[in-house]
Symmetry: C2
Subunit: 133 residues, 2 copies
Amino acid sequence: MSQRNQRVSPEDVHPIACPIREIFDRVAGKWSVQIILLAVSKGPIRFTELERGIEGISRRMLTLTLRQLERDGLLVRTVYPTVPPRVEYTATEMARELRGAFEQLAAWAVRHQDAIADAQRAYDDRQEKVAAN
Amino acid sequence: MSQRNQRVSPEDVHPIACPIREIFDRVAGKWSVQIILLAVSKGPIRFTELERGIEGISRRMLTLTLRQLERDGLLVRTVYPTVPPRVEYTATEMARELRGAFEQLAAWAVRHQDAIADAQRAYDDRQEKVAAN
DNA sequence: CAGAATCCATCAGGATACTG
DNA sequence: CAGTATCCTGATGGATTCTG
């Protein structure tokens, strides 16, 4: 307890940081969260509904992200060979389980958003003073 | 319940997706997670300890990420005006509260890592077949 | 030791046009 | 409708050098 200059071995952080990293990469991308939330809350959802429901997403990124989520087994893609074609995306059970974690993070965000904003202002003020030196 | 062609209004996803986005941006960056976890578990930690403890991080990215976390009030930076200089980073209470959410996500990751790997293999196999057409 | 500053490669991602 | 293909640009981030 007195000695804190002990080396930090990579293994200390790895077992928790590594799986988390993997998850965040595939699940916490800018668009993945919104797609998953929509797919979870809106049941089977169509390509165009997603495109309209997610502000600012490009057709390209929607396609790429959907493919990745499908590959990871978070979404199921169902094609109805009608004309015009109809494709629906359904969240799997696995994806639905993410909602809890997302909501916990959202709660944390809400709880601390003011504190964060304050911290940022305080920090920026300090920088201004230094810059004005 | 029969009608699912209802429009998806942006407000349906916004209230939860927006704060989450903010959080993920500032907290779920490639390096932020590892830095926070190290700072939380290793008490006050020095620049060089972080550099050695996080595999593959560059000096530049470590500095940039530390600045951002400090600005957001997740880390406190303490300078000891000795020679050579000594700087320590301490996780704030706010940052420590994140551990729960991180661990929940980590648990999710561990629970489903096999299923995800399987899904990916299955998906890739399907693609190969198509490519071979 | 703990950075700041600079240069440079990569690549995520947007806009647009085309198609089964 | 639900994509694919192509082009192009800005931001991300690594490597390196310099300094109090």
